[in-house]
Structures are given as structure tokens and as C-alpha cells.
């Protein structure tokens, strides 16, 4: 069969199975503007910005047009330009533009297009935007209806990918607004704070609840010691904000940047990821041995935990009681500066976690994350917020030398770093259980079906006389599909890993928004960071002896496990 081709702007554009003309154009280097299209969501065709002109001189939306052999379209004819201009002016009339002070300024697609297509005059009075109040109920996300242009990306993300449907189109015509039902606030809905809606929002209608001023205050307070931990995925998302390739981890530069920012102590969450695996595999093997109800679900992801609490409360007893790596390192940091381990104690310690995640902001506030009367984590900043902080401090990540995190909570193995990608926690558990560090054994594990960005993966692992059925889901919609199969008895699993965000933490709501191709590069970067580690098994982490003997001193379960109320229902 000969190659299929269509003509865009006089250029021959080969295509295969692209879902629309917009994708064909993109793959051939032509960027057609669009505000309501996303490669991972259904096609809506509502914003009318991607209109192109066909041979008959008729305008049609490129996002809803099937590519066909010999099709001819123009993307910047006079007719197209005129329509695009008017469409932008209409969109601007229903958008409260406060571009100088808007959170999204510089990242706003409407702003970008208005500039790119030279919309220098507003034409229509800016009078149809919503006057509904700002929704600041969620510790993770802020919703500002006055900036919403009704593209519906968030609606589709929340219902199609996450299967939650916290927000939807409500009312009609001029009064139409994307909102939770019955005038509720986000916090009163099934929202888990994953931040995927904000990641796809083209304007500032849905934004991360940023806490940058708080961080500056602490950095500039001479009476505070700022102790920072950073998650596996931060080292693979941050680089992109500084024009560096996505497929290389920037751990060393990140540590240097944090020190230049004024951070007093830098630790790596990878250490507690190793620790999580030690605790979680012990808990899992104990459950298998004692005949407890399986599958056991992982517990690292705060979005997933909230989803269980809100949508599947009956499953909570099957969720591991292990705290997340962030919680565990938070607990270790408190111990590190207490109990005579540090001359000054931990009263002046301000514990900050840099996370790829918006839901972590909620997790850190939970009452269960208070131990010995103290909050384990004082502040959670996202990768995006860290990038803004560094830029404000004039730190150019690209040109920094590498440095190492502080001892003794900076050591880690490859098992900890792969937490950042879907399947990583599971792979680390398998490494721990099989306890074989030979390259052959590691290769077998890597190829057992645990790796890859598919939404649901299922496979079997044999460990001695145990044959374990394992499933990995990323995205809450996929998790719900899996749960349905387990609850209906259609499938059986011993262990299920769930990460709320598509592709796992590398695609977290706190990361710079990224295309699928970009996320694939981030996954490569995570495995490169794993390759760079000499030690691969969590049990090889040299700091574990110190952690268990000197810091935890028999309090491991008390400090490293979190019992949420629903864990112990009758």
C-alpha cells in the first residue's frame, strides 16, 4: 500500500493513523492553534481556534477532521486568519484578563495566541466573564471562574481520565460555568487534588495553590533552619523549565540550586522510598503469610488514598499502612534533629518537601501526619513552584555544578529513584523480595511486564514457592476499572500499585505540563538515574542501619506507618 499523504499549506504531509488533521499537521511541523484539544482526551471541537480552510473555501475544525489521502487544507489563508482573530477576540471578552498579575501569565495559551496572532485590540467589551466567587477551598487547587473560557479540558480530564467528575459544565448560555454541582466547593466533591485539571487548563482558571512567599519568608529567617527533601520525579521535570533536555536527570544541579537558594540541609526522598519498600514488602509478605485479605494496595500516592476514602471506603483496610516516602523522611528528619542527635534540637527546623504533586499539599496537612506533637512536613512545594523560586533567585540551573545531598539522609539506591514512574514501586518491591542483585536477575525483573506507560499492567512474578499476581494502574479511571474487575471476581491479584496521575509521578499535577512524548523522555531519565546507581536493591542502602538503629530505635511502626480512620473500620 502506498503512503497516505495530505496537503497542508501546499506541503505534502504523510500520515498513518493520526486521529485528526491537527495531529497530522503537528507531526509535520505545523502548529495549528487550539485551546480545547488534548491528545489524551476525547475531541470536543468547541474553541473553534483550529479552523482550517478546505479546497471549497469552507472552514472546518482541524481537531474534528479525519485525515484522508489527497485532502488539501490551508492553515493561514486570509479567511482562516480573520476567523481566528475574531474567535480570539470573542474568547477574550469572556475572560477576565489581568495578565500582569495572573498566576498563569507566561504559561497561558490564550495570552500566547493573542500575542502570536496579533490581537492588539479587544474589540468586544470584556463583560461576559463569570462573577462567581473564587474557590479556594482545596489546599491543592484554586478555581477562578472569571478566567474560564469553557474549553472543557478539565471536565474531560476529571471524568474521562480520573473517573471523578468533580466539575462539569453547568447552567447555560451566558451563565454557563464549569463548576461542581449545587454550588459546592471543590473540597466538598470527589476531588482528590491531583491537579490534572490545572495541568490541562489553558488559562488561569484552574491553578496550583502556590505557596512561594511562605518559602521565601522561611529562607530569609535567620532563626529557621530550612531542611528540604525532593522526590524522585523532581529531578526529571525541573530541567525542562530551564531549556534543558527532559531525558536526563538533573539531581546534582538540583542539589546545588537548593543550596544557593539558601536551603540549610538537603536530603533526598529516594532514601525514604527505599525505606518505604522495606516496610511495605514486609507488610505484604506478612499479609500473604497470615492469609489476610488481598490484594494489598500501595499507599504512596495521596491522590489515590483520598480516592479510596471518598469512592471506595470499603477497600481502605486493604491499603498498606506505610506512610508515603515524604511522610517517612519527614519523620526521620524530626528524629535526626531530636533526641540528642543535634545540639540545637528541631524547634528551628522548617521541613519542606519538593514534590511533583499537588495532592501532597493536602497530605501534609492531615492530622495523621503529626507525630510527637509536631507536623512532619511544614510545607509542600511543587516542581513548578521550585522552578519559579529558582528563577526569582536568578539561579540558572543549566550552568550549575553538581553536588551531593547531605549526610546521613541522602543515600539511596536505584529502587528508590524508580518510584517516580508508574510501576516503579512494584519493581522496587520485587527487587526487595527476590533479593538478587545480579544483572541477570535485574534484567528479568525489568522485563517481567512492570515497565511501560500503559494504563493497566498485569503480570505474575515467582518468588521461591510463591507465585504472585500483580497489577499496576496509573490514572484513577484505570484504577477504578481494575477495582471493578477485582470486586466482581473477574480477576484476582495479590498486589496492586496505584498512582493517581497518568504515567505516575513524572506526570504529576505539580510538574510542568507535558506532552506524552515529553513524559516518555522523563521515564527514560528516571531509568537513567536508576542505571547510574551502583546499588539496586533497597536493602543495600547503607543508611538503613543508621535509620533503624539510631533514629527509629524500635519506633519504626509508630513513626513510619499512618493509620487513617478508615483503615480500621468494622
Amino acid at each position: 500500500m502506498s503512503e497516505k499523504k495530505m496537503i497542508i499549506d501546499g506541503i505534502e504531509c504523510p500520515f498513518t493513523d493520526e486521529r485528526n488533521v491537527l495531529e497530522v499537521a503537528k507531526n509535520n511541523g505545523i502548529d495549528i492553534p487550539s485551546l480545547c484539544y488534548c491528545e489524551n482526551l476525547s475531541i470536543y471541537g468547541g474553541c473553534r481556534l483550529c479552523l482550517v480552510e478546505n479546497e471549497k473555501g469552507v472552514l472546518d475544525a482541524a481537531c474534528s477532521m479525519q485525515p484522508r489521502n489527497g485532502l488539501v487544507v490551508k492553515t493561514h489563508s486570509e479567511k482562516v486568519l480573520k476567523s481566528r482573530h475574531t474567535t480570539l477576540q470573542l474568547l477574550m471578552s469572556s475572560h477576565r484578563a489581568e495578565c500582569l498579575t495572573c498566576e498563569q501569565s507566561g504559561h497561558c495559551k490564550l495570552q500566547e495566541y493573542a500575542h502570536r496572532y496579533n490581537v492588539v485590540e479587544p474589540r468586544f467589551a470584556e463583560n461576559t466573564y463569570s462573577h462567581e466567587r473564587l474557590d479556594v477551598s482545596s489546599p491543592c487547587i484554586t478555581r477562578d471562574p472569571s478566567k474560564c473560557i469553557l474549553c472543557g479540558l478539565c471536565v474531560r480530564m476529571c471524568s474521562e481520565v480520573q473517573n471523578i467528575g468533580a466539575i462539569d459544565f453547568t447552567k447555560r448560555g451566558k451563565k454557563a460555568i464549569v463548576a461542581p454541582g449545587f454550588g459546592k466547593m471543590l473540597i466538598e466533591t470527589g476531588c482528590v487534588g491531583c491537579g490534572q485539571c490545572a495541568a490541562v487548563c489553558p488559562t488561569g482558571a484552574l491553578t496550583i495553590n502556590r505557596q512561594i512567599p511562605e518559602m521565601w519568608r522561611m529562607l530569609n529567617d535567620p532563626n529557621k533552619r530550612v531542611v528540604v527533601q525532593f522526590a524522585p520525579s523532581v529531578r526529571v521535570g525541573l530541567a525542562e523549565e530551564f531549556g534543558m533536555p527532559a531525558n536526563e536527570p538533573v539531581t546534582g544541579k538540583l542539589v546545588t540550586a537548593l543550596r544557593r537558594l539558601g536551603v540549610d540541609v538537603v536530603y533526598d526522598t529516594n532514601l525514604s522510598a527505599d525505606l518505604t519498600i522495606m516496610e511495605e514488602s514486609a507488610e505484604f509478605l506478612e499479609k500473604v503469610k497470615s492469609g489476610a485479605k488481598l490484594p494489598m494496595f500501595t499507599s504512596c500516592c495521596p491522590g489515590w488514598i483520598q480516592h479510596v476514602e471518598k469512592a471506595h471506603p470499603e477497600l481502605m483496610p486493604q491499603v498498606s499502612t506505610c506512610g508515603s516516602p515524604m511522610e517517612m523522611l519527614g519523620a526521620l528528619i524530626r528524629q535526626q534533629f531530636n533526641n540528642g542527635n543535634d545540639s540545637k534540637g528541631d524547634d528551628d527546623v522548617y521541613s519542606v518537601a519538593i514534590m511533583p504533586c499537588t495532592a501532597k499539599k493536602f497530605e501534609a496537612q492531615r492530622p495523621e501526619l503529626v507525630k510527637d506533637g509536631k507536623r512532619l512536613i511544614d510545607l509542600v512545594l511543587t516542581t513548578d513552584e521550585l522552578a519559579r523560586l529558582l528563577k526569582a533567585a536568578g539561579i540558572d540551573l543549566k550552568n550549575l555544578p553538581d553536588s551531593e545531598p547531605d549526610s546521613p539522609l541522602g543515600d539511596y539506591t536505584g529502587a528508590g529513584v524508580i518510584f517516580g514512574v508508574t510501576g516503579g514501586v512494584t519493581e522496587a518491591v520485587i527487587r526487595r523480595v527476590l533479593d538478587d542483585a545480579s544483572p541477570e536477575a535485574l534484567k528479568t525483573i525489568a522485563e517481567c511486564g512492570v515497565r511501560g506507560l500503559e494504563g493497566i499492567k498485569a503480570f505474575t512474578v515467582t518468588a521461591g514457592d510463591l507465585s504472585l499476581k500483580i497489577a499496576v494502574a496509573n490514572g484513577l479511571g484505570n484504577a477504578d476499572k481494575l477495582i471493578e474487575k477485582v470486586q466482581s471476581g473477574e480477576e484476582y491479584f495479590d498486589f496492586i500499585e496505584v498512582m493517581a496521575c497518568p504515567n505516575g509521578c513524572i506526570g504529576g499535577g505539580g510538574q510542568p505540563p507535558a506532552s506524552n512524548a515529553r513524559k516518555r523522555e522523563r521515564m527514560e531519565a528516571i531509568f537513567k538515574a536508576d542505571d547510574a546507581c551502583e546499588l539496586k536493591l533497597p536493602q543495600q542502602n547503607p543508611a538503613l542501619g543508621y535509620v533503624y538503629d539510631e533514629l527509629l530505635k524500635g519506633r519504626a511502626h509508630e513513626l513510619l506507618h499512618i493509620h487513617y480512620p478508615l483503615h480500621h473500620q468494622h
Binding site: 471523578i164 467528575g165 449545587f182 466533591t189
Partner: protein, 157 residues
């Protein structure tokens, strides 16, 4: 406000097989009983048909015929279409406002008996000016007839 009878909602859901595609019919049946859509009923329906609350709320608020606000025992629809207008329906409307203690911005009377709605045409222009009370049409209205109608309804309540 009345309490929602979940057994009644269940019977409506059964009638339509709890089918997501039939939520409009389900909501119509519920509105027929309560004269509006109580929030509790909608939340229950959303759960039972497997639809998000926000989506069902979106459908309910899209259609002008669904109401999420409680209504009085008598819903009075005063026609302000062209034919009724030229035959002085504005005077009829004002008379009803005065008699029931309602206004343009306060459609419900304090005694919970009356809800006033302005409609654009009831399709009975030959009978203008027209006022509809629940399912009954009252033709060739005058302010006097309107006041008498309100009194009569009050007596029946």
C-alpha cells in the same frame, strides 16, 4: 421544604431501569411530584445511575423547565407574549404580584402557596391575556379576575 421520599425515587429509577441515558425522564417524574428537583433527590439519582453529581446538575440546569428551587403549591404562569401584552397582561401581572405578595425578584410568596413565572407564550393567544395555574388555563384575564382567582386558590389551599 418537604423531605424526599427515597422509596418514591427508587420507584422512578426502577421504571427507567436506572439508565443513565434516561435521566431527563427520571427528573421529569421527580419534578412532577415535588414541583422542583430537590438536591437530595438529584444526589441520590446521580449515585444510582452512575453519573457524577456535577454532570447531572449540569443537565438539570441546562433546561429551563427544570427547577432546583422549591415552588409554591400553585405555580402561576403569566403570559407576557405579544398578544397578551397588547391586551394588557402587564396589569394582570401587577395585580397578581400585589395579591400574592410576590415581585419580579421574589417569585415565591411567603406563605409557600404561590410561585410566579413569566412566560413568553402559552400558545393560546385567542384567549389572551392568559394565566396558567398548574395545569389549568384561565382565559381573558383582568386585574379583577386575577385578584378573585388568587382569593379562590387561597380558600382552596
Amino acid at each position: 421544604m418537604e423531605n424526599v421520599d427515597l422509596r418514591f425515587i427508587d420507584s422512578v429509577l426502577d421504571k427507567y431501569g436506572s439508565d443513565k441515558a434516561k435521566v431527563i425522564a427520571i427528573m421529569q417524574d421527580v419534578q412532577e411530584k415535588y414541583r422542583y428537583l430537590p438536591q437530595e433527590a438529584l444526589e441520590y439519582i446521580a449515585k444510582k445511575v452512575g453519573m457524577s453529581e456535577s454532570k447531572l446538575y449540569g443537565v438539570a440546569t441546562f433546561y429551563g423547565n427544570f427547577s432546583l428551587d422549591a415552588k409554591g403549591k400553585y405555580v402561576m404562569k403569566v403570559c407576557r407574549g405579544t398578544a397578551c401584552h397588547v391586551r394588557k397582561s402587564s396589569n394582570v401581572l401587577q395585580a397578581i404580584y400585589d395579591a400574592t405578595g410576590t415581585s419580579e425578584h421574589k417569585p415565591n410568596s411567603d406563605d409557600g402557596l404561590f410561585t410566579l413565572e413569566i412566560v413568553s407564550c402559552l400558545g393560546a393567544c385567542g384567549l389572551s391575556p392568559v394565566v396558567m395555574v398548574n395545569d389549568t388555563v384561565h382565559a381573558a384575564m383582568t386585574p379583577e379576575k386575577a385578584r378573585a382567582l388568587v382569593e379562590q386558590l387561597r380558600g382552596e389551599a
